[in-house]
Symmetry: D3
Subunit: 285 residues, 6 copies
């Protein structure tokens, strides 16, 4: 069960309102790699962990922390929206010169075009569980598979993509308050990448392998296809990668070969008449 | 541009039809980590690669190979569906004894309940671009960020989750033909994990860091928060993980601390009247 | 079955085209609380009503009316789009002065940025079944539960959110024709709120209770938890709400208590090996 | 920011595994009115509250509590899945008699048909953020509008639909452990309905009106349409509802009238040629 | 604006309840080509028609008719659900013999596995706006482009797919009442195919071309690529189609050629450092 | 299986970057009728074809070609994004005069408002599998039914809508490089429309009918409803269409009649108490 503390995880005070930046920050709330994704991903992984209490606790620690990050960014978004020129009276008088130049278009109208209109119409200047283009967050973004090695790799990916997005947003504003909050997210994503890398290394060592899941018996696998890079795109640039000529991470040498078919050309049987499919022969006069 | 060869990447010939297994195999066509995801993810990453031709070629090789895996599994699904008892006449005569026991329920009706009904009604015994529960594939599953280290981690995750699902499906059937096809997928996912692990190591070495993106200047980051595991879930099991007491992958020591707030309790300003939000003070009589 | 009359429910004639307002009005066609939602919600509720013919008729009356509101707003959107500067020749000559100032950017190009591009590319200046950010309407927005009290509460919510959005849109335009149409929607939403409030009161009285569903036997319920506000967020501001100190709407006194766990710390059993989950003990060296 | 306690909000211990019930309980985790919806809805409402600290605290209390309900039900689902017959070896020997009767169909295969296959293939016997039919949760289900009266009505609806679903699930199982957990949810939904009803009454009184938003000036509204039930569905059963003959909740008398058009038949202007729409006149020879 | 008549478009009275068939019929309510799709598609096309009043009227006639088909099928679904064994007491006593054979599994439990569980938990035995696998209808299924020729082709496709699905459902039941309703849908889909084919022919004749849109000036088009079938899949079976050797529908002869690249191998410029993309050269030691 | 050639299907070299056009071109990558749709639609149709090898080959030829079109447009989008002013330093110095006029708004900020922000934050100046408003592509857009006539009609629709969108985009830019690429797409869509029209004619002739599926026995159909246009929208404009007075494409005369109900007014039975639906009689005092 959970408890909330009203103080925020970190400062979320912009220098001044900026509704365009509010729209952009939605990406790290409700985008594919936003805080809703990492919070829910880590929590479901924690809830589904069967008997590895240290990792369960780690997942619950981090997932719970991420809930606080949603809160922190949502607060920032709400503040950045505070002077959004959403209504006619708030836009003030049109400037006649530039208005004339722009064919009667009020410059404030121009500003309003860049907003997420739902920030005015739907949420009343509040943050929303959506991305920077307004697509609602959905649970198809996350995974909790029951295999910790697989899931730690999912987590490392999420923190890598997430920190990349934060770094890009950092350059997209001059607002010191926004940058201050982003500096905290950069740091936490550094920590979380470090911890998932360490966890991956730990699990690979304990399980004695790097190919996930490590528990597949070799006889299940067509091992003659397990270490060959098949060339399916014209040109052999990929063969020139240094590591392709060496030993694969699981200890076997890499091979390189031209892609080819190992199966037959398939011909499917006709469907029963009750399905009203096109029957064979109908393409031959 | 692309060319197709009619022969399949590998054998896709089941011992006998099995519409339930057909439904289950849909997961690795159109599920979150199915072949549509890896094909499209690698291809978009390849198309967006700016000037790293070896990696672009590797991505195009692998993405193009995965297109052939969709084809191979789709063919298997089409064959597994061939005797699905979708219509009344195909079910044959009801067995009177068991029918009576089951309150008039025909046992073949029972079988029909486990099918994906769209395999009959919509696709006419063909594969569909959907998961094992029938949810259509969507592009929110994939990522192509322009940062190869981040994306190779996404790819390693996809192949880890994908191979895990194939291993599970392997135990869910006794059909030797299905197992044969799955043995090929296990092998290719082994190769692909190996290659993405090697690529990640290569990129980390060349970029001189493991925290992605490696190009963030340290002054952007609140580094006092970059190596501490904050305890947000009661109990300190996570602190007992061996690696938490050591050096983080980026070379700095890990810390452990009780989670706490570094920000203030926020109070938001009221919205302008034109938004018809509840105004402050209305909760006080 | 249904019949259509070509005349609109109300006037839908803007003073002049305004493609930005067209984009904004899409919210009340295909957004979460747009007319598609209320039309489909009331109609499905009506079709599923079992034996309460007066309420079925009320639902059919209102759902059918809402179909006409989609039509009316769609017509308004089509007219507001009529002069959208979608093509180069329609934009006319660039203004050299402001163009130079803006780095070669044509002011009309600026205008075009605020449009929903699908209004040009996809619908050819027609309304679409999407929200103000272009997300397609989906049936996950609506409910028809078979319980009239629950559903009337859903309906009251829909009309409250809907009227709020219309009120906000009213302030976002100076166009008298648009305001005229919105004044009709404000009025109909007033009526619909009134009718659902009256219906809720009627059903509560007849069913003899306010807690929905009213038919749950008391012995099914852990009644010791039925009237207590558990404090899960630091601070006791909520306890200071006047009504928290009084009698709950169902006649029992409210309580206030610190949130606490009534269950145990769960430990899950390991999964069978066939699932290739991480087995317990793997986090302990 | 948030903290987690490992103990569950309430007991989540089934008498025995039941993978079908596990599938059904997913509805109240990741369905339209599941715990993910109420948790996220209340939290976003709380984060967006501007200056009504008592209500903000109430929303944070309740939203945070709901996070613990996701956890509790997820734990129940994980336990109900523990003996799911997902693989061939776990199904054991086929029974020859019934197998023959059922055309070679193993009865355990029949059982497996009712499972959510993703519980085996994707989550490894863990709960997922999806509904009872496997559709992922999405944020389009929730609302946080900035208007407390509108949002409290959304909340009352969510708790009414949610409690209705819990009551239905209660009858769908004989498992005493599952029923015990559901008895707690019934109780909490009772409390939450009570609190939102009380809050709605409080806000209506303070704002001096029941038609939301209460701040719309009367001159914005076509008040001649604000109290009339228009008959759009043949028959006048709705007119016979007792309350239709009385005074509406906002104090004005209800009217009843035949539905009719208050607007004109619209004729739209042709689109510019650059859009390649069909031009008028093309339907006339 | 719309009016509703309580009588159904056609009979919707099944011989007896059949919850599996109820689940299957959902496909033609809320599936990709269900009645919600055709109703909304034709109505939006009608509302967006600019000045072709005969076609607008045709679209409004047919779209309005389809609204009545949703109603008719929804009523059928509600009736087919009437005896769904959703709760324990309704299933009656377990049969001891078969129960023992099936490992304690009650045969009625088996039946319940094929149901859409939301028909019990969510809709209370009512129809839902979802497909046969429970995926909610969404507006991404439909199109209204402003070009009548394009849209009539969309409509012909919708009626062809729709009638195909109805024909398949016809074979999936022995219920005379269900078959009776489906016979009406088969007939209406026959009519609608006829009318859209006739409309397509009419528009092609009036516009003087079959390639849509017919208004593209020839100088816009790289006409040397307008009539050649490029062979991109190994083997030349397609070249053996009789019509490939003849004159194309627009009057020019078809050609056949091996697929080849007409563009260059692209090399993209590096992204600016502020995006933290991988910079070129990093794949070369 | 598939192979890729690095050269593009056609030129994809814009005269100069234009991030707004990049956003618009996303429609024909990941929109409802973009290249992802046609590629996947044709490939799934090809994979599911049962025994009509000429048509299977045609579908594989065309589907494989369309994969190359995704690649070509993705490359164009990546190049159009190259100078997107995504960060503060890239925008350069603000122009003081216009900045003052626009209330401190930097003109480059104005430009940035029209971008798809995910092109900077998520993809790092790369193409994405989304539409022009940023909605991810999903597989609910496509169909592969097993009936070639139905599917060829789907394909003709897709190419008609697709070419219409390309024609509109052609007018939305003055960039000669973009227009050059679009001229190729116009041509290929001309070819594909020609081929699907010819295929439809071929299949109709061989199957001996135009009403799809052609295999429905006449006794299944309520043929008295198969050729009548029912008037459901006030006014008889549709009756004035010339072809309505003639012979339908399937050889029977069209009729015209006022829409009417052929079914009864339905009354549904009450639900069992275990569902907690509202019971009948509760609307009567």
């Amino acid at each position: 069960m959970f408890f909330n503390k009203k103080e925020l995880a970190y400062n979320a005070i912009p220098d001044k309102p900026d509704p365009i930046m509010a729209k952009h920050l939605q990406e790290i709330i409700g985008g594919q790699f936003g805080e809703m994704s990492v919070a829910m991903q880590y929590l479901f992984q924690g809830w589904n962990t069967r008997g590895n209490e240290k990792y369960k606790d780690l997942l619950m620690d981090t997932g719970t922390e991420e809930l606080g990050h949603i809160e922190m960014i949502a607060t920032m978004v709400a503040r950045l929206l505070e002077d959004a020129p959403v209504t006619e009276q708030e836009k003030g008088a049109s400037h006649p010169v530039i208005g004339a130049i722009m064919g009667g278009q009020d410059p404030k109208d121009v500003l309003v075009q860049g907003l997420n209109p739902q920030h005015a119409i739907v949420s009343g200047l509040g943050a929303m569980p959506v991305s920077s283009v307004g697509v609602p967050w959905n649970a198809g973004y996350i995974v909790a598979s029951g295999n910790l090695l697989a899931d730690m790799r999912a987590n490392l990916n999420a923190e890598s993509q997430g920190r990349l997005q934060v770094a890009r947003l950092y350059s997209m504003t001059e607002d010191k308050g926004v940058k201050d909050m982003l500096s905290f997210l950069l740091a936490r994503d550094t920590m979380h990448q470090n911890q998932w890398i360490a966890a991956i290394k730990d699990l690979e060592e304990k399980e004695g392998g790097v190919v996930c899941p490590t528990t597949v018996p070799p006889e299940w696998e067509a091992t003659e296809h397990s270490h060959t890079l098949y060339n399916h795109s014209e040109g052999e640039d990929s063969a020139a990668l240094d590591w392709v000529k060496g030993i694969a991470p699981d200890g076997h040498p890499f091979n390189y070969a031209q892609g080819k078919a190992f199966g037959e050309k398939p011909i499917l049987s006709p469907a029963p008449p009750s399905l009203h499919n096109t029957l064979p022969g109908q393409d031959m006069k």
